[in-house]
């Protein structure tokens, strides 16, 4: 709040006269107003100081430390964000068709959704994969599926984001192998690997191995990328799923940056030089409906990460201090009731991401609370970005809301609350300990419960759900997933297992096992060798399972 005494005195006078004359006649709608994170919203926020030094310290020029106003000096005046719709379903053939359609519609980057068996390192014929093959993404068993997935998509012409975590090393190896086969130099590959295992334990659930060996895989990927695929973002440290699990905006930033700290520490411990990997760390956040808090959240996140990298880790390269991030609109805000209303929600969330300075964006489709999106719905979601980009005018200037008394005030408040969490997590012994103790999960669950209770009691209004309801909304018909899919995929897998050189497969898997046992060697070269022999994802993961063990969730309610 205002430090200059003249501001405070003016505020008190104003409250006693101008404000009072109105509120005496028309009381405000509530006695207390808060943001989605229950931060008290100032009625009117005043400048803390008009001091030049303070401005430089807190905001600075865009493209300069602490990057509060954005990581590029001219932001979207230079280049728009990458419009990147997360997609993938069924077989590699079907997904390949969808990608080519999206590219033809003006999308500028690919984002691969893998099905759950792939994400958890099971082949399509594994018994527990029943019913899940090709459902939430594309099924990948061997390099053959990956070759089909990128058929006629030259990998030097697109940037590809892959939402893959526990088996990230294997999918990266497959991508590199496809590039090798297409004759494309590895240093021409652009994209992002999610590769963020810590948030899987916290919120997303597709873990395989315990934290320690998982972090070894993570840092192996850092090292491999810096050497072989230097333009690839080797991790996307993700707050998105933490937020979807019910975290507040503050918790989303706090827990994500705390995970980021853990990865940096792990890489340094593995002997990597900070400047060899820190500029390839990227982030992934959620955009909710609370427009102004979200904008402040993104600004605060940039400022905190810059401070962390400079002050805690002594980064010298400004690129290592820049928090670059992808955004996805908030799936949890989509309603099954009156689904067309979701188009409006997604528009607000798109604005939040863009006013917050995102580098790329996925917009959700209106029907995702009901089923997998139809092609029509996906197109509307992409058009929403295009309208904001080309028609809204918000791209004309850098950080349009910077300097707004309210936004600056909220940015400061979010930052202060995030530091409190970071201190608390450090006191608990770091993020891995905090996760193992269930502290992080419990904090998120409490917020989720509080939020839902507010909806139940009508304190928080969700249009179409607890107010302005209709008896029945007409359902949007969704394309059914091919019921034969699982059979087709399993048949493909058994065929490739007959056609490949099984002696070579066994030999490469044995070499991988040996390297794992040696502990200090990078596993990527052996994984790539196995992948190129068409060893399956499940076979490679089984070698790792045997050596690393498996993680089991401690159920916290």
């Amino acid at each position: 709040m205002a430090t200059d005494k003249r501001f405070l005195k003016k505020l008190r006078d104003w409250e006693a006269t101008t404000l009072k004359s109105v509120t005496d006649r028309f009381p405000e709608r509530a006695t207390k107003f808060t943001t989605g994170s229950w931060i008290e919203a100032e009625r009117v926020a005043l400048p803390e100081s008009s001091d030049f030094e303070s401005y430089l310290e807190k905001s600075g020029m865009p493209g300069e430390y602490p990057f509060t106003r954005g990581i590029q000096p001219n932001m979207y005046r230079g280049r728009l964000w990458t419009m990147r719709q997360y997609a993938g379903f069924g077989t590699a053939e079907e997904s390949n068709e969808r990608y080519k359609y999206l590219l033809a519609q003006g999308q500028t980057g690919l984002s691969i959704a893998f099905d759950l068996p792939t994400q958890i390192g099971y082949d399509s014929d594994y018994p527990a994969a029943e019913g899940e093959v090709g459902k939430v993404g594309v099924a990948i068993d061997t390099l053959q599926d990956m070759e089909i997935l990128f058929d006629n998509i030259p990998l030097d012409q697109v940037s590809t984001s892959m939402t893959i975590n526990a088996p990230a090393a294997i999918l990266l190896a497959m991508y590199v192998a496809v590039a090798d086969k297409q004759g494309i130099a590895r240093n021409k590959l652009n994209g992002t690997l999610q590769n963020d295992i810590l948030k899987e334990y916290i919120a997303r659930g597709t873990y395989i191995f315990p934290p320690e060996p998982s972090l070894k895989l993570t840092t192996d990927i850092f090292e491999y990328c810096s050497r072989e695929v230097p333009r690839f973002n080797s991790i996307s440290i993700s707050g998105y799923h933490i937020r979807e699990a019910g975290a507040t905006a503050v918790q989303e930033i706090a827990f994500t940056l705390a995970n980021g700290i853990e990865y940096v520490k792990a890489a340094l411990q593995a002997g990597l030089q900070l400047d060899s990997f820190a500029d390839r760390l990227s982030f992934f956040f959620n955009a909710h409906n609370d427009l102004l808090e979200e904008v402040a959240k993104f600004r605060a996140a940039r400022r905190i990460w810059a401070k962390l990298m400079k002050q805690k880790f002594h980064a010298a390269n400004p690129k290592a201090m820049m928090l670059r991030f992808h955004t996805q609109t908030a799936g949890s805000t989509l309603t099954a009731q009156q689904p067309d209303n979701n188009i409006v929600r997604v528009t607000i969330q798109t604005l939040a991401a863009v006013l917050g300075g995102t580098q790329s964006l996925h917009t959700n489709s209106r029907d995702e609370a009901l089923n997998l999106p139809t092609a029509d719905s996906v197109r509307i979601a992409l058009r929403t970005q295009q309208i904001v980009a080309h028609e809204s005018g918000v791209t004309q200037t850098v950080d349009p809301l910077g300097g707004s008394y309210y936004i600056e005030n909220l940015t400061d408040k979010i930052e202060a609350e995030v530091w409190q969490y970071l201190d608390k997590i450090e006191a608990l012994g770091g993020m891995i300990r905090a996760i193992e103790q269930g502290y992080v999960q419990k904090e998120i669950q409490n917020s989720a419960y509080h939020y839902q209770q507010e909806i139940e009691t009508g304190k928080r209004i969700v249009v179409g759900v607890n107010k302005y309801t209709l008896p029945d909304s007409a359902p949007i018909s969704s394309p059914p997933v091919n019921p034969q899919l699982s059979k087709i995929q399993i048949a493909k897998l058994s065929k490739i297992k007959q056609q490949r050189d099984n002696l070579r497969v066994t030999a490469t898997l044995k070499e991988l096992r040996q390297t794992v046992k040696e502990r200090d060697k990078n596993l990527m070269p052996d994984i790539l060798a196995a992948v190129k022999e068409y060893a399956s994802l499940g076979e490679i993961c089984n070698v790792l399972r045997k050596e690393f063990g498996e993680y089991h969730e401690s159920v916290i309610l």
Partner: protein
């Protein structure tokens, strides 16, 4: 003393979305029921084993990955095989409207999709007893 109603909230399949399951579990607990939550990534076999061990009256299945048509009926079938078909099974998550008749025909007594108030679930539980 009347035995308290016991409810198992379970996550079949590989889906990690547990916000809804955890909310329902906690809200039902607050409403006075005895609630057990399995955690994520449970097979139908494991769910039925837990249900029988814990002697529950209800199983609430939550799934957002689209595998409900395979996994929900399997739980009902396994209960029947074990002679535990007095356990009432209900479900929730991202379930397309068009799948609900199939699930009901296969022994899932009620489906609560996104946006359902908790009191609807409580009313359902009370109506079964």
């Amino acid at each position: 003393m009347i035995k308290k109603i016991r409810i198992l909230i379970a996550k079949p399949g590989l889906d990690g979305h547990d916000r809804g399951a955890k909310y329902v579990a906690r809200a039902l607990k607050d409403a006075g029921y005895e609630v057990i939550y399995t955690g994520i990534r449970q097979t139908p076999e494991a769910i039925v084993r837990t249900a029988i061990q814990e002697d529950v009256d209800f199983i609430g299945l939550s799934l957002l990955s689209g595998a409900h048509n395979e996994l929900f009926p399997k739980v009902v079938k396994l209960l029947k095989n074990q002679g535990a078909d007095d356990v009432v099974v209900f479900g929730g998550g991202i379930i397309p409207e068009s799948d609900i008749p199939f699930l009901k025909a296969n022994g899932i007594r009620a489906i609560f999709t996104s946006g359902t108030p908790i009191k609807d679930i409580i009313n359902f539980i009370q109506s079964c007893k």
